[in-house]
């Protein structure tokens, strides 16, 4: 195989298409240039490749390298000199969400497992149908027909268990004769992940009517949940059926050097790589226009790394911005703002963003509103992640019969903020924040990290492209990730506990100087990079001494000495307490918000205001 020297990669998001160019220089791969353009699934183009071409054209202009042929198509196979790319890769999340109906025999057992499998695979659940869900059969049949999902996941029965109930579910599907949301005349994909012994009878009924795919039982025994095969089948069908509906997707498929990967899958690959290479726990987020993906790698009870991914399909910064408003409520968005705004004004503004999703905040207050929304979207998506993390651990997750019967999850214990080593933020609002400190504060407010946590962001939102690159050129992906993608913001030190404003909270001794931070305040100790403003961050030994009643990981009031990592902000001592509670009266809240912004060197007003 000839040496790969020039790599072009695009990510087609629901709002923006991003292109990056990576070239091999002096023996190592570096990001050379990037471009972006609105995603063109809208009229008059209705073709995702128009946005791709526009984004690549920007890269062409900036890099002075010809990457498009005369027809505007990406030219794969680099020529001598300054033309073409050796490799062209693309990820995509265009095409809207994945809408699923799940069905199981027992609502609290197999149907719940099916729900976890589907949600973990990024679906919006339209309904959960179960034999014991309390509705009459005809009501369920009408509901199944009315929904028109992208696919159905059918589960139920342990292996060797009930057959009749599965056949009854299949009969319900036959009766409803459901059609897919997209693709007239196509058979609805149905994934069967139930009792293996019932499959022949179910197949007899369904095979000619739907597109039936069998995978391993997602609940083979009462004590075991096996979600991975169903989730993989959902991902495959998502790519085959749903993403194919994005206008121009077929054409794009013919341009790329390897199959298009869904954006969340690509980002997940990078997150797992970080956790594995550094042997750390990681919480990652990719907040887009339509959806927010949350990724985590935490340690299980046996010390093994457990990867989880969830997709909050209706939480995003443009298309889904009003869904954030609906779920979070206006008052929860307003609380993060350094100024007062009426509910009506806020609602109208967010509606206008929803209907013109590609616009950019030009005024400072508009940016602050979007960043306030992002805090709530991140928070809600994280809540969603925490509630599902227990069910997304793959093949070997084991729960006792007691836990299974009560559905009390052991999974929640996986998301332990005190044991979290690193947060990685990605997506437009985090990667493109005018000041990196804004990204740090958004993540601190939304996630409330506890103890000692390294904060980072994807520099220019290129993790999707690096994720797919890692599958074909891992060396190139790692090099670019380390040097050009990951931006160190600094280490957040956040004592857990509550107190009164101004009371002693924590003292940090670093590099021979001592910094005491009272309760309710944020203080930043500069700790930058080894050279310049980026690259390798400085590291320092810090002794963190929490006041009585506060914990930074060693127990209440107990000191801890750790190596902290610097970054663009440095060491951020967040003594606002955990859980973080905002003042309830407006005047105090506004004063505190402005104070915290000032501590982080974030402007409240536009420079020329």
């Amino acid at each position: 195989m000839p040496e790969i020297r020039t790599i072009l990669a695009t990510d087609c998001g629901s709002t923006t298409t991003k292109a990056i160019l990576i070239t091999k220089q002096d023996g190592s791969y570096r990001l050379t240039s990037r471009g972006e353009a609105p995603t063109t699934v809208e009229a008059p183009f209705d073709d995702v490749t128009v946005g791709v071409t526009n984004a690549v054209r920007e890269v062409e202009e900036l890099s002075k390298r010809k990457l498009l042929d005369a027809d505007g198509k990406v030219a794969v196979a680099a020529k001598d000199g300054d033309e073409g790319a050796d490799l062209y890769l693309s990820t995509s999340s265009a095409g809207g969400g994945l809408q699923m109906t799940v069905a199981g025999v027992v609502k609290a057992m197999s149907a719940e497992s099916a729900q976890r499998a589907a949600l973990g695979a990024g679906a919006i659940i339209l309904d959960v149908i179960a034999v014991d869900d309390g509705r009459k059969d005809y009501q369920k049949v009408e509901r199944i027909r009315q929904l028109r999902p992208d696919m159905i996941l059918m589960s139920g029965g342990t292996d060797g268990g009930t057959i009749n109930h599965l056949v009854e579910l299949a009969e319900m599907l036959v009766s409803a004769d459901p059609k897919p949301r997209l693709g007239i005349g196509l058979n609805l994909p149905v994934i069967y992940a139930g009792n293996k012994d019932a499959h022949p009878a179910v197949a007899d009924l369904l095979e000619d009517r739907v597109s039936l795919r069998k995978v391993d039982n997602l609940r083979p025994t009462l004590e075991r949940e096996n979600l991975l095969p169903a989730r993989e089948a959902i991902h495959e069908l998502f790519l085959e059926h749903v993403m194919q509906q994005a206008p121009g997707y077929g054409k794009l498929s013919s341009w790329v050097s390897t199959g298009i990967m869904s954006t969340p899958n690509a980002v997940g690959k990078i997150m797992q790589t970080i956790a594995a290479q550094r042997n750390i726990t990681v919480l990652g987020v990719d907040i887009g226009g339509a959806t927010t993906d949350v990724f985590s790698v935490f340690k299980g009870l046996q010390g093994d790394s457990i990867y989880n991914r969830t997709v909050s399909a209706n939480l995003g910064m443009s298309y889904s911005i009003c869904n954030v408003l609906m779920e979070a409520k206006a008052e929860n968005i307003r609380r993060w703002l350094p100024f007062n705004v009426s509910d009506a004004e806020l609602r109208n503004q967010l509606r206008n963003k929803m209907i013109r999703p590609t616009t950019i905040p030009q005024r400072m207050e508009d940016l602050q509103i979007e960043q306030a929304v992002s805090r709530e979207a991140l928070r809600l998506a994280f809540e969603h992640h925490k509630s599902l993390a227990r069910g997304l651990t793959g093949v070997q997750q084991t729960r006792t019969i007691g836990e299974a019967m009560t559905q009390s999850g052991t999974g929640l214990t996986l998301v332990n903020m005190m044991s979290l080593d690193m947060i990685v933020g990605s997506g437009g609002v985090l990667s493109h924040a005018p000041r990196r400190a804004q990204s740090a504060l958004m993540m601190m407010d939304a996630y409330q990290p506890e103890g000692i946590t390294l904060l980072t962001v994807d520099s220019i939102f290129m993790m999707p492209q690096l994720g797919i690159l890692s599958t074909v050129q891992p060396e190139a992906a790692t090099e670019v990730f380390e040097r050009d993608c990951l931006i160190y913001l600094g280490t957040c030190i956040a004592p857990v506990g509550t107190g009164k404003e101004g009371d002693a909270c924590v003292t940090v001794d670093v590099n021979g100087s001592s910094t005491a931070v009272p309760y309710g305040a944020i203080k930043v100790i500069p700790l930058g990079f080894v050279t310049g403003d980026d690259g390798e961050p400085k590291r320092a030994e810090a002794t963190i001494s929490p006041a009585r009643g506060f914990d930074v990981g060693n127990g209440k009031g107990r000191s801890r000495t750790v190596t902290v990592t610097g970054g663009l902000s440095g060491i951020i001592i967040d003594a606002r307490g955990r859980p973080l509670t905002l003042p309830t009266d407006d005047a105090t809240r506004l004063r505190k918000i402005k104070e915290w912004m000032a501590a982080m060197d974030i402007p409240v007003d536009a420079p020329n205001a």
């Binding site: 699934v41 202009e61 007239i184 009924l205 109208n348 206008n352 209907i355 616009t359 950019i360």
Partner: protein, 381 residues
Amino acid sequence: MGSAYTPGLTVSGRTVIEKTRRLPLKGAVLVQAGELVVPTTVVARTELPGLMQTVKLAEQLGVEPNELKSALRVSASDVIEKGQILAQTKGLFGFFKSEFKSPVAGRLEMISEQTGHLGIRMPPTPIEKDAYVSGVVQSVIPEEGAVIHCVGALVQGIFGVGGERQGVIRAVTSSQDATLDESAITPECRGQILIGGQCVTLAALRAASACGVAGIVVGGVVDSDLMEFMRSELKDPSFDIGVAITGHEPIPLTLVVTEGFGPIRMADRTYALLQSLNGRTAAINGATQIRAGVIRPEVIVADADQAASVAPPAADAGELRIGTPIRVIREPYFGALGAVTGLPSELTQVDSETWVRVLNAALQDGRNVTVPRANVEIIVT
């Protein structure tokens, strides 16, 4: 970068409109390419299969599922009448026979030896797709529908609710700055499409609904007014719009908003065009989908003689160039019209401190401004 793509909404007195009229299921197409159609012409027809009624027969007869076969008096695919005997047991020495009659009419589609259930498919429901606009059938999509080629006026809105309707356009406000309030709703408005100015009030929406107004076209609507109207019409106090996918709401009128949320003066050109169409019959659709395969709400007034209509030249597909007429679609210049005067290629920092690709524009009010390219739309004529 010399030019850039920015999508815009069409507001045109005469343009080509292609409407794809497609069935939700495969069916029969009833028109042919080249055929003239009017809004009520049925383009395609299909049948939505009836629901299948499951009869738990073995359970009813008190027999095991595998014993059911010998008791059946009907076979798969049989047409079943309501009350027809489906099964009868032999009983004991000819006594204690039990039988079961069909609770519904339909076709016997399923006999399950596993569960002992029968499935009787009830009669199908016919579905028709009409042409929606006057025009000529441009092409037929086999078994699915047709593409209608129409020449006429088109106003695309930014957001709407409610589905396809027809009505006569009636201008009811004095200017594009005026608010459409309930005083404008009179009995004569029934079945008509009302053109307002900057806003429609909640009381006017309610009065229009009660009066039987077919549609309302207005510059803006206050979010809380629209939600309250929808909640009361749908009798769903928790109704809200999280993502802009609309058009299927079972409400009695269709609303098309041309500018956005809040009271926003309707663009002069849009208002003038709609005024000029006063008294003409229009098709209106509030369906909005701001996702893949975007759909914007619309008002269409087809030329009276579609056979004689000659298609105007295709509009510029949307390249930003020096001189391109634009409208700013975000604060601080929201709604302002102007023309592009510069397209600097380097990134520029705006008040929010964001570095973005911008354009310079001369606004009609005399201001020269710099705005992110993403915050303008090309005025498509």
